[in-house]
């Protein structure tokens, strides 16, 4: 019989307000095996933990039940406390009487009764707990960063600075991400390229960083400390080691009418191309969709002009396999598709553009060399209308439910810069709410209004109709003036909502990392573990976790890096001891468990057994590799003889819980 101590937490009033904690402590005191039962306002506090530790020593407890918040919150805390007091940490069970009791029930007698039942179930389980000892597994001291935008770059640089090798996998031919396309950055208005390109160069020059550009992750196996990742290096038909980035091929290429994705299709590039002047790696890439040589076998001009002999039309996609200890996801975002917002005439008029297109139109390296010109006729626009929340905060199904967070600030920036460069333009911004929390953010927005005379109008644009004279008839409401406005605009800029990159969903499946309904990666804890995924060894950086601006992205990237460094510093990781275990005497070697195991953790061995009649027999039995087993329990149900059981969640333990609940 175990000697069990029961500890009821008040959690201030979080539990105590709806659960009569004294009554719970009293009721559980009389359960079989319980030798000590008490309550305390904050069990997780140091004083609370000391009560647990003292009781373990004073009452020689062999099992501990804590009735408190979710085990996802403080199970580790109490296990650690038990270990300090000399009790095996796996002899601690948590009854969740906060999230799953006091917070959801209002009726005190009902909630108290439920808390008692949950406590009894935990006691019943502890009776069957056995001490567990965690094994160890080695850590591969190399990190993988998926995505080479500012988030990935910053994470990689920070990890590399700590002395660990890092690989960056980027699908585009160059790293840099969305930030390379931006003109200026709020609220200080420094130029994006000026602050980003040195970091890109740092990445290329850092001996700890290896960049796999134009590559994708196609498979992930393994677990924290020991991931095996397959990377597909797409054929770029140019030998990266030979190409000097001189650009002669791009000049000579006869196929010059390929929409330039870097400028969002607003001008053209050649079939062999370097995305932009500061690309890293500065290596040409041949676009197989448009190259005449690759499509029709005729041309070959680039190979002729290349003095380095880097062009290789026969290059094939290459798959490489690498080992990593930690993986950082930094897949970033894209503006949403605006097809569902036909009222804004985005598909009907070239002069209705997204904010990202506006960035390119004002960028010195953009299609207009930084002069703001209308895409349709190349004239200066004199009236510009900015529409905010296009697809953000939209529950109708056309857009996204969430606030995209960055639009208020970049729209203020666009409006301000336009007024500064072209004081003769009228700039209107239609807003629902202006959301500018952040250091110097609201001051920035007010400056746009007060100093630069941008017309901020509380209301929304209802429809935009292209006119015969090339202008755009904008019909909108001014809610404060209670008027409907009709503006003839030359240019309309839509602040499109942002959404996670499309590659994030399949990647999450590969990593078994969870996502929310909007395809943003979920964090292990929304407040306390914001850069870790619930899947051990997978970390989150940047907008793949939620909309955020550059300063926030950089700080999250640094935080993710520090978590990775913390992991890679360890030589060995403690494994989860709650793994499957096969009873050799009961196992009949049927292979049912082997077939369902997703990790290949089960193998078979012919083993010699001393039989009761003193003969020896050779029997085929299942062996579980405890380092590989993740403890899902699929095999335990598949096993027909009941030989397979899961430590920490054994058949008898769960049945005892069922019994206690149904009593």
């Amino acid at each position: 019989m175990q000697r069990i101590g029961v500890f009821i937490c008040h959690c201030g009033t979080n539990i105590a307000a709806t659960v009569d904690v004294k009554a719970v402590a009293e009721a559980l005191k009389h359960e079989p095996g319980v030798v000590f039962s008490t309550d305390y306002p904050y069990m997780c506090s140091e004083a609370g933990q000391n009560i647990v530790k003292d009781a373990i020593r004073d009452y020689h407890l062999s099992g501990v039940v804590i009735c408190s918040c979710s085990p996802r919150m403080h199970e580790a805390t109490f296990r650690k406390a038990a270990a300090v007091a000399g009790l095996n940490p796996y002899m601690v069970e948590i009854a969740n009487i906060r999230e799953q009791c006091s917070w959801i029930h209002k009726d005190i007698p009902q909630a108290t009764e439920k808390a008692i039942t949950l406590g009894k179930a935990a006691i019943a389980k502890v009776h069957l707990n056995a001490p567990l000892y965690a094994g160890e597994s080695p850590v591969v001291k190399r990190a993988l960063v998926i995505g080479g935008g500012i988030a990935g770059i910053q994470t990689a640089l920070d990890i590399a600075d700590a002395g660990f090798p890092v690989d960056i996998v980027e699908t585009k031919p160059t790293i840099g991400g969305k930030m390379t396309q931006l003109d200026k950055t709020f609220p200080t208005l420094d130029c994006a390229a000026c602050i980003l390109t040195p970091k890109m160069v740092d990445c290329a020059q850092n001996e700890n960083i290896k960049i796999y550009s134009y590559s994708e992750v196609t498979d992930v196996k393994g677990f924290v400390g020991n991931f095996t990742v397959t990377i597909k290096r797409k054929a770029r038909y140019v030998d990266e080691t030979k190409c000097t980035g001189c650009g002669i091929c791009t000049e000579k290429c006869p196929m010059k009418k390929v929409p330039n994705e870097f400028n969002l299709g607003m001008n053209n590039r050649s079939a062999v191309y370097i995305p932009f002047a500061q690309a890293v790696p500065k290596v040409a890439t041949i676009d197989p969709e448009h190259c005449n040589m690759l499509k029709k076998g005729k041309c070959g001009l680039c190979a002729k002009v290349c003095t380095a002999g880097a062009i290789d039309y026969k290059q094939k996609d290459e798959f490489i396999e690498e080992q990593y200890g930690a993986i950082v996801v930094a897949t970033g975002y894209n503006p949403i598709n605006l097809d569902k917002f036909d009222e804004f005439a985005y598909s009907q008029s070239k002069d209705v553009i997204t904010s990202l297109e506006f960035e390119r139109l004002t960028n010195a390296a953009g299609p207009t060399s930084g002069t703001l010109l209308r895409p349709s006729d190349g004239k200066h626009p004199h009236t510009i209308v900015f529409v905010q929340c296009v697809g953000s905060r939209d529950t109708s199904g056309c857009g996204k439910e969430y606030c995209s967070k960055i639009c208020c600030m970049y729209t203020a920036k666009h409006a301000m810069l336009t007024r500064e460069k072209y004081p003769d333009t009228d700039v209107y911004v239609f807003y629902i709410d202006v959301r500018t929390p952040g250091k110097s953010f609201d001051e920035f927005y007010r400056r746009a209004v007060e100093q630069y005379g941008v017309h901020y109008i509380k209301g929304m644009v209802g429809k935009i109709v292209p006119q015969a004279d090339g202008t755009l008839a904008v019909q909108a409401s001014d809610l404060l003036d209670n008027k409907q406005l009709h503006i003839n605009a030359d240019l309309v800029v839509l602040a499109a909502a942002i959404e996670p990159d499309k590659s994030a969903r399949p990647l999450a499946t590969m990593l078994t990392a969870s996502m929310d309904t909007n395809d943003f990666f979920t964090e292990a804890h929304p407040k306390l573990r914001p850069v870790e995924s619930p899947t051990a060894g997978v970390f989150l950086s940047g907008t793949c976790q939620g909309p955020k601006d550059i300063p926030e992205t950089v700080s999250q990237a640094g935080a993710a890096a520090s978590k990775v460094i913390g992991l890679l510093c360890k030589d060995k990781l403690t494994c989860n001891p709650c793994v499957a275990h096969s009873d050799e005497w009961m196992c009949n070697g049927c292979s049912a468990c082997e077939k369902v195991c997703p990790y290949g953790a089960i193998t078979y061995e012919d083993k010699e057994f001393r039989m009761p009649d003193r003969t020896t027999a050779i029997r085929r039995v299942a062996i579980v590799n405890e380092a590989v087993c993740q403890g899902c329990g699929a095999c335990t149900v598949a096993c027909p003889s009941g030989a397979m059981d899961l430590k920490g969640f054994s058949n008898s333990q769960i049945m005892a819980e069922v019994d206690a609940i149904c009593k």
Binding site: T395, I432, M460, G462
Partner: protein, 128 residues
């Protein structure tokens, strides 16, 4: 008027939840008969939420709404302002002369030649 039309009646008839409104004003931005109306689509939502039904009942605005449903189509929060206008219009029609249909009189009024749609709309108009 004998029976005061309450906010609850309007909400029940329309099936609209005005609390979903985030006050963006896109309904009024898109409304083609905005200038004809004394109260505008966004005001309908706001006033119904605040229980100010009386002025809406008396306003000519309810007959100026074209029922084009542009506001319903474009509302980012699925509030459906036109349904509120429609509900208020119905409330007014139903009140006049208390001319509700009574189930027992229906067979008398029913004309075999009457189109199905007319019968349904008559129910919407006259039944309580």
């Amino acid at each position: 008027m004998e029976n005061k039309v309450t906010k609850e009646t309007i909400l029940r008839i329309s099936g609209v939840n005005p609390r979903k409104c985030m006050r963006c004003g896109k309904c009024s931005g898109t409304c083609p008969s905005y200038d004809e109306m004394e109260y505008h689509p966004h005001q309908f939502v706001y006033m119904v939420e605040n229980g100010e039904i009386e002025p809406l009942l008396k306003s000519k605005s309810i007959y100026k709404c074209l029922s084009c449903f542009a506001c319903v189509e474009r509302c980012p929060r699925d509030v459906e302002p036109a349904k509120l206008v429609e509900a208020i219009r119905l409330a007014v029609i139903r009140q006049q002369g208390e001319n509700h249909l009574k189930p027992e009189t229906i067979p008398e009024v029913l004309n075999a030649d009457l189109p199905q749609q007319a019968i349904v709309s008559a129910f919407r108009k006259y039944s309580k």
